[in-house]
């Protein structure tokens, strides 16, 4: 009998360390980039302001200090929850960003759930009847779904709805109807990709002897698929789905938010960039990095849990 817990903690520790490195790297990168170029002071003072006045303002914001000092200050503050002051909105950057977070989370959660469920159903259906009309239809649709940029799909949906369907709003936030179109636009790519992997994964598993063995014991096809195949096919599916979720969080939601004026973190990033609002830009990157890293970590956990070899040594 093998011991259960030698492999697991070491594995998780490595992943945790990883995550920290990624967050730090992301933040450093953005910090360097935003502090090397761009001068927020320019926007705050009228054009006639003298160089002296600009310099004074920079001083007051601590922008004339050496970069490392600024970074040190930033990290110190960040660890206390203070991510700086949004020069654009005159509020703590942390507040600005966190205020927008729920909208993005809602959109991504909604799109991801739709993708996953649709893909599991469609992919399995296609895999159980390979080469059939249903399979070809599903495969073609996935292929097309993967080839459409989400902002274009979003715009086409807007066009379609504006002209034909009443009742589905194309901008804004608030009711569930507002969620429909953005979800569809964001989900298409992921649905296509996950369907493909579900299909190929299930086809691979169905050809394995343990499936024949299970059926030979009297399990029906339905039972075999749900209780035997899916669990084994799960590993590549979970891994890929995780990456799709990360993809959504890491930036694919930005164009969708832009098209639908969805008040989330993505739209905020674009606005902040236009306004040269360093604090908010940094805060957004930090937040997104944390989200991405968390999701990746959870995927690793799931993977370890699904694979008996890792879980039970």
């Amino acid at each position: 009998m093998a011991s259960s817990s030698r492999a697991l903690p070491a594995f998780l520790l490595r992943r945790a360390l990883h995550s920290v490195v990624v967050i730090v790297a992301a933040v450093v990168l953005v910090f360097m980039v935003t502090h090397v170029v761009g001068d927020p002071v320019q926007l705050l003072l009228p054009l006639e302001a003298t160089e002296e006045q600009r310099d004074q303002m920079r001083d007051s914001f601590g922008l004339n200090d050496p970069v490392l000092t600024q970074f040190g200050r930033f990290v110190g503050d960040a660890l206390q929850g203070d991510l700086g002051e949004s020069l654009w909105q005159r509020r703590p950057a942390a507040e600005v960003v966190l205020e927008r977070l729920p909208a993005t989370l809602l959109l991504v959660a909604s799109a991801f759930s739709v993708s996953l469920i649709a893909a599991l159903v469609l992919g399995t259906l296609a895999a159980l009847r390979p080469g059939s009309f249903a399979d070809k239809l599903i495969t073609t649709t996935s292929l097309v779904g993967v080839s459409i940029p989400n902002f274009f799909l979003a715009l086409m949906l807007v066009l379609l709805v504006a002209v034909n369907v009443k009742g589905l709003p194309t901008a804004g936030y608030g009711t569930w109807q507002h969620l429909v179109l953005p979800t569809l636009a964001l989900a298409a790519l992921s649905t296509g990709r996950i369907t493909q992997i579900v299909r190929s994964s299930v086809i691979d598993e169905m050809s394995k002897p343990y499936v024949t063995a299970a059926r030979a014991r009297g399990a029906s096809m339905a039972r075999t698929v749900t209780r035997h195949v899916l669990k084994n096919a799960a590993i590549p599916i979970v891994t890929l789905s995780g990456w799709e979720l990360v993809r959504m969080l890491a930036g694919y939601m930005v164009p969708v938010e832009a098209v639908f004026s969805w008040p989330g973190v993505g739209l905020l990033a674009i606005d902040a960039v236009e306004q040269f609002d360093f604090a908010v830009i940094q805060a957004v990157v930090l937040l997104v990095a944390i989200m991405v890293v968390t999701v990746n970590f959870v995927i690793e956990l799931l993977y370890a849990w699904l694979n008996p070899r890792i879980r039970f040594g």
């Binding site: 990883h18 990624v22 992301a26 980039v33 097309v144 993967v146 940029p149 807007v158 066009l159 930005v254």
Partner: protein, 313 residues
């Protein structure tokens, strides 16, 4: 009378084939398979067509893509009411010819995508070779690096980098290339690890060839097929990535043209002038779709050989 005995063959004496023959056998087989896949041929032709018009744009474009003509603004395509054949696909909000912008957009978008793939492949191949061939700590370091890069919220960071610095073409290429090397590296590493122990590499080593020479002459030709398959896939992905950036205003800038930029600029007019957005969008979808098809066909055409190792034919 004695029984018929089979011809004596020495079981261990397989022919040692070299890298060139291995590759030739596979190309011949791939060639034979082209004829049997009509969809793949259509996809190949479509991608080829797109590349062709991109290259030929300066020659075949009817107008200067940047030429504005306010009197002609928002003219519909030639076949609709109000359109005329001097502007086959209509004009945009500044009176620029859509067809010409589409052609030059193809040129720009494809150029950026190709160049980015080249960057990603170059970095990826080098990293992958080093990682796979040398192994040990070099391998660990490179793989950790790849993991970290992969966990990065790449798109978001790209957005920020490009918004802070002036979005020149080369910067776009650099950013897109750098965020994509990991997947090539991982694949190359896998291949190299598998090939490292094969006979022709052993033979080359025995003759005294140094690692660089082996990498160049023995390993590289054999991973070409897999590399090509992946490169085509990445090309498709990068076309979409560039279009997202340009759509958000952070990629190609006016008066230059890119498919994503066209969509971004035409966004406000979508309900009144659908053609400004639809044509570039369609172009993206067609190109990406055919590239995806070509890539998946390439994978089936070349994979069995890689799986069986030594030139099974």
């Amino acid at each position: 009378m004695t029984a018929v005995t089979p011809e004596p063959t020495s079981p261990g004496l397989e022919r040692v084939i070299d890298a060139a023959e291995y590759r030739d056998r596979r190309l011949a087989r791939a060639g034979r398979m082209v004829r049997s896949e009509k969809l793949a041929i259509a996809a190949l032709l479509t991608s080829g067509f797109m590349i062709l018009i991109a290259i030929a744009a300066p020659v075949i474009a009817p107008h200067d893509p940047a030429a504005q003509d306010i009197l002609q603004r928002l003219r519909p395509p030639a076949w609709s009411e109000g359109g005329d054949w001097s502007h086959v696909l209509g004009t945009d909000q500044l009176g620029r010819d859509v067809l010409s912008r589409l052609l030059y957009g193809a040129r720009m978008s494809l150029f950026i995508a190709f160049a980015s793939v080249l960057v990603a492949v170059s970095i990826g191949v080098v990293m992958g070779m080093l990682s796979g061939y040398i192994g040990r700590w070099v391998d660990s370091v490179i793989m950790e690096l790849a993991d970290i890069f992969a966990s990065f919220p790449g798109i978001l960071v790209a957005i920020i980098v490009l918004s802070v610095f002036n979005p020149s073409i080369w910067l776009i290429i650099a950013v897109l290339g750098i965020e994509g090397w990991m997947i090539q590296a991982r694949m190359v590493r896998g291949q190299v690890k598998a090939l490292r122990e094969t006979e022709f590499v052993e033979a080359a080593r025995a003759v005294g060839a140094g690692p660089v020479r082996i990498m160049r002459k023995q390993l590289l030709p054999n991973i070409m097929a897999a590399l090509l398959t992946l490169a085509v896939l990445e090309l498709a992905r990068l076309i979409i990535a560039e279009s997202i950036l340009s759509f958000l205003g952070l990629g190609v800038q006016s008066p230059d043209s890119s498919w994503g930029l066209m969509i971004g600029e035409g966004r406000d007019y979508i309900t009144t002038a659908w053609w400004v957005v639809a044509f570039p969008g369609l172009a993206i979808v067609l190109t990406v779709l055919s590239l995806n098809l070509v890539s998946s066909w390439l994978r089936t055409a070349t994979d069995p050989f890689l799986r069986h190792g030594k030139g099974a034919s």
